[in-house]
C-alpha cells in the first residue's frame, strides 16, 4: 500500500493543505508510519494527474489546498470495501531465518526459535505496559495500533511454540534434493 488511500481518506473529511495532511496522517496512525513531506506532495501530484484529487489556486502565501473529486470518492469507497490482500508470499526475515535454520547442519534451530521467542515476549511485555498507559477516551486509534502489534507478537510466539513442538516431535530431517522439489511453493499454496 502507498499512502495514496490514506490521503484520500483524510481529504474525504474536507479540503486540506499538504503539510496538514502529513501531520494528520502520522497522528491518526499512531506515528507507526512516518512519511516525509516530499512523499506527500509526490502522491498528491499523482492523485491530481489521475483526477482523484483537485488542487485550488495557490493562496497569498503560495500554499495549495487539495480536495477530493467524485472519482476520488469512488476510489476511496472501493478501498474501504476491499479486504487487504494477505495472499502475497511472506518475505519476513524471521521466516527465512528459521526456514534456513531447520535444514542447516550444525545449527540448533530450537535455540534460534527460543532466542526469538524470548525477544518477542519482551516486546509483548513492553507493549502490554504501553497499552495500559493509553487513555482510551482520547487516543483510541493509538490503542488499536498497539493492540495490532500485541496480537502480531502473540501470533509469532504461538508459531514459535508450534515450531519447537514439531521439532521435538519429528526431529531434524535433512531433505534430499528430490524431496525438496516436491514442496509446493507458497504461491502455489495460495492459489
Amino acid at each position: 500500500m502507498s499512502i495514496k488511500h490514506g490521503l484520500l481518506a483524510l481529504l474525504s473529511e474536507g479540503p486540506a493543505y499538504g503539510a496538514a495532511l502529513k501531520a494528520d496522517f502520522e497522528q491518526r496512525t499512531g506515528n507507526t508510519w512516518p512519511v516525509n513531506v516530499g512523499q506527500v506532495y509526490t502522491t498528491l501530484d499523482r492523485l491530481q494527474r489521475d483526477a482523484l484529487v483537485a488542487a485550488d489556486d495557490p493562496d497569498a502565501e503560495g500554499r495549495i489546498r487539495y480536495r477530493l473529486t467524485d472519482d476520488g470518492r469512488t476510489e476511496l469507497d472501493r478501498w474501504w470495501r476491499t479486504p487487504v490482500d494477505r495472499q502475497a508470499t511472506p518475505r519476513e526475515e524471521l521466516v527465512i531465518k528459521l526456514a534456513l535454520a531447520v535444514d542447516s547442519p550444525g545449527i540448533d534451530s530450537s535455540a534460534v526459535a527460543q532466542a526469538q521467542r524470548s525477544a518477542t515476549m519482551h516486546r509483548l511485555q513492553q507493549l502490554t505496559r504501553l497499552k495500559t498507559s493509553i487513555d482510551v477516551a482520547t487516543d483510541f486509534a493509538w490503542l488499536m495500533v498497539v493492540e495490532h502489534q500485541l496480537f502480531a507478537a502473540e501470533a509469532e510466539i504461538r508459531w514459535l511454540d508450534q515450531l519447537e513442538a514439531s521439532l521435538s516431535r519429528y526431529g531434524h530431517r535433512t531433505p534430499t534434493p528430490s524431496a525438496a522439489s516436491e514442496h509446493p511453493t507458497a504461491a502455489e499454496v495460495s492459489r
Binding site: 506515528n31 515476549m121 509483548l124 511485555q125 513492553q126 507493549l127 495500533v145 502489534q149 496480537f151 502473540e154
Partner: protein, 249 residues
C-alpha cells in the same frame, strides 16, 4: 540442570513471599518414575507477578501445587512468607496454606449457595473471624475493586469475568499475600480475560505476590517475569525490566 532467576531489586529489600530452592519432584519410582521438576529455583517478592508457560507435561501444575503447599518436593526447599515448609507439622501447614495462600482456578470455584460477599468472607470465617465482620471485610474488598454492586449476587447471577474477579478478591482477602492462578482466563473471552489479568496485575501492584500459569502469551505478558518450563526445567526466563530500548513511539 538448574536455572536460577535473579531476584529483582525491590525483592532484595523485602523478604520473598515465595521461594523455591532447587526443587525436584519425582512421581513414582524405579523405571516408571516421572521427573516432573528437575531443580527449580524461583523467588517471588511482594508486588511481583510471575507467569509460567510451557507445553503440557512440562511441570507447570506440579510447580503450582508445590508453590501452594498442596504437594511437597522430593528434594529442595519451599519457603512461604519466610517459613520453611518442611519444618511444619500437617496442622501448621494447613493453617499456613489457609491464611497465606489464595488459589484462583480456571472454573472460578465459588460456592454456589453463597453470595459474592459471603464467598469472599468465607476464608476469614474459617480463620475464626465472626461472620458479620468477615462480611464487612468482604464488602470493603469488593468496594476497593470497584465491584461493590455485586456483593449480594450469587455466582449464577454473575458473568464468568465477574466470578473470576470475585475469586481473585477471595484469594487475597485478609493477610493472604500469595495468589496462585491456574489458567484463570481459560474459560473467558479475550476482552474479559484481559480485565481479569488487569485485576490480578493491580493486586500485585498493591503488594501481593502472584504466580500465574497460562497458555496465553498475551496474558503472560502482564507479568514482571515470564518463565518457560520444559521437561521440568526452566529453559528461559525474562523480565520486562531488562527489556531493550522502547517500542514504537
Amino acid at each position: 540442570m538448574t536455572a536460577t532467576l535473579p531476584a529483582p531489586q525491590r525483592a532484595m529489600v523485602t523478604e520473598p513471599v515465595l521461594q523455591l530452592l532447587d526443587v525436584t519432584r519425582i512421581h513414582g519410582s524405579g523405571e516408571t518414575a516421572v521427573h516432573a521438576l528437575r531443580g527449580i529455583s524461583l523467588e517471588i517478592g511482594a508486588g511481583e507477578l510471575i507467569a509460567v508457560m510451557g507445553p503440557s507435561g512440562s511441570g507447570k501444575s506440579t510447580l503450582l501445587n508445590i508453590a501452594g503447599a498442596l504437594d511437597a518436593p522430593t528434594t529442595g526447599a519451599v519457603e512461604i512468607c519466610g517459613v520453611m515448609l518442611e519444618k511444619l507439622s500437617a496442622t501448621e501447614l494447613a493453617k499456613l496454606r489457609r491464611t497465606r495462600v489464595g488459589v484462583v482456578f480456571q472454573d472460578y470455584n465459588l460456592i454456589p449457595s453463597l453470595t459474592a460477599a459471603e464467598n469472599i468472607g468465607l476464608p476469614l470465617e474459617l480463620d475464626g473471624m465472626n461472620a458479620t465482620l468477615a462480611r464487612q471485610e468482604a464488602r470493603a474488598a469488593l468496594r476497593e475493586l470497584g465491584l461493590i454492586g455485586l456483593s449480594d449476587r450469587f455466582p449464577d447471577q454473575l458473568s464468568g469475568g465477574q466470578q473470576q474477579r470475585v475469586a481473585i478478591a477471595r484469594a487475597l482477602i485478609g493477610e493472604r499475600k500469595l495468589v496462585l492462578a491456574d489458567e484463570p482466563t481459560g474459560a473467558l473471552d479475550s476482552v474479559t480475560g484481559e480485565e481479569v489479568l488487569a485485576l490480578l496485575r493491580a493486586r500485585c501492584d498493591a503488594g501481593a505476590a502472584g504466580l500465574l500459569v497460562t497458555h496465553e502469551p498475551r496474558h503472560a505478558a502482564w507479568a514482571d517475569r515470564v518463565v518457560y518450563l520444559r521437561d521440568g526445567v526452566i529453559v528461559d526466563a525474562h523480565s520486562v525490566a531488562d527489556a531493550g530500548p522502547g517500542v514504537l513511539r
